[in-house]
């Protein structure tokens, strides 16, 4: 099995690479759509600004590649910015995004005494029994660093939630596409567990 890691100049891919290497998986880190389409699973990380990320994705044909990967049914995992830009739009730079999942990314409210970015470890409650969280206790903390969060348009698209000021969606699930706002590659042993669960995930199997 080969995992493709999408390289589109959006932040540092090193931590995702080292975590996958630590798990012993064969990976290809690339910005070439054909090389990535040859992989069996896709990891779509990213840190940074939604509108510039979308610009780079389009200029390299990676937007079409991600859509194709999703539509052919192979497992895809978006991380952080990667979870936001699968939605239709982001408030950040009012960017049109990939539109694979209905919904928008919105900013945490300012002036409420909440520090933004939301940075640090926060507890995550997830859909009970979902295979991506196998072996992970309900309420386990994961590492976040972000100012925008995902607001899918339907409740059935929510994989997991956390709380910062109020409850927010911190993970999406749409068929074979899963995405987390937090960084599993920086969330200690349970983060590695989630990544490892992704490597075994069969989206067609009901749970």
């Amino acid at each position: 099995m080969k995992v493709g890691v999408v390289d589109y100049d959006a932040g540092n891919l090193k931590s995702v690479q080292t975590a996958l290497a630590y798990l012993g998986v064969d990976q290809v880190v690339s910005s070439n759509p054909e090389e990535l389409l040859a992989a069996d699973r896709l990891v779509f990380p990213g840190v940074g600004d939604a509108s510039s990320a979308m610009r780079v994705l389009r200029s390299r044909g990676l937007d079409a590649m991600i859509r194709e990967f999703v539509s052919r049914g192979d497992p895809v995992l978006g991380i952080c910015l990667g979870s936001q830009i699968v939605l239709e739009r982001s408030e950040e730079g009012n960017a049109d995004c990939l539109g694979i999942v209905p919904g928008v990314s919105v900013r945490f409210p300012q002036g409420t005494g909440l520090k933004v970015p939301h940075m640090g470890w926060n507890q995550v409650s997830f859909r009970k029994g979902h295979p991506l969280f196998r072996g992970i206790p309900q309420g386990t903390s994961f590492y976040f660093v972000h100012s925008y969060y995902t607001q899918p348009s339907r409740a059935d698209l929510v994989l997991c939630e956390s709380e910062y000021g109020e409850k927010f969606c911190c993970g999406l699930l749409a068929g074979n596409l899963a995405a987390t706002q937090f960084h599993p590659e920086k969330s200690g042993e349970y983060g590695l567990k989630l990544l490892s669960n992704f490597l075994y995930w069969d989206p067609e199997r009901t749970y």
Binding site: G11, N12, K14, S15, T18, A19, A21, Y22, V47, G48, D49, Q110, K115, V116, P117, H118, M119, G120, W121, N122, Q123, G135, I136, P137, G139, T140, S141, Y143, V145, H146, E163, Y164, H183, E185, K186, S187, G188, E189, Y190, G191, L192, K193
Partner: protein
Amino acid sequence: MLEKRLVVCLDVRDGKTTKGIKFQGNVDIGDPVEMARLYYEQGVDELVFYDITASSERRGIFIDVVERVAAQIFVPFCVGGGIGSVEDMRAVLLAGAEKISVNSQAVLNPEIINAGAAAFGAQCIVLGMDAAGDPDMKSGYRVVINGGRTPTDKDALEWALEAERRGAGEIVLNSIDADGTQDGYEIPLTRMISEAVGIPVVASGGAGKPEHLAEVLSEGKADAALVASMVHYGSYSIAEIKQHLDAAGLPVRLTYRPE
């Protein structure tokens, strides 16, 4: 609920972890990669590595440490010391660090904060600030640089606000007066800065026992507390500190590894 972070700091000189008191005299206390791995296994939330190597030609040794840490430690870590340009920042980020801390260099050239935030995002750029009590300053605290040896004309509160405006995503606030004493953090300083800025503040300097962390994370309003000696010499484990914080009613990450 967002948890209070426990951050362990390792000063690295020529590839070894070292510890000094009030920046006078350093002793090597171990291999930073092995120490970091141990803290990781004990559930540390974040690590900071400061390169205090004197000569720039030995910088490669430090980058090698960063790379080895990144390969086996899966919690965020910040790297500081001797970072004077966007290129220096890029080198440590490519080696696997999450965040970069700038201290004296930012005082001498504040534009480096803007440049770093523009290139890598505000979440990457940490302002390290050493502050010393000084009644002549408006806030009561003066920014000092070069490890506390050189006073500047900057007021600590004003500098924190300026750094935030320039794009810093976090502040590691070190009290020069408390540093090395193990008598507790400088609460009024920490509280003042933390209440004034909209970015997270990591309290540093003075930790000697778990009660000190509980105090700075509650009364001091810090988002995270940094420790060094109290864990390096085995006086307390990460778990002991966290259990104390949990018992004090502070939200901390207690579940950190599969059974």
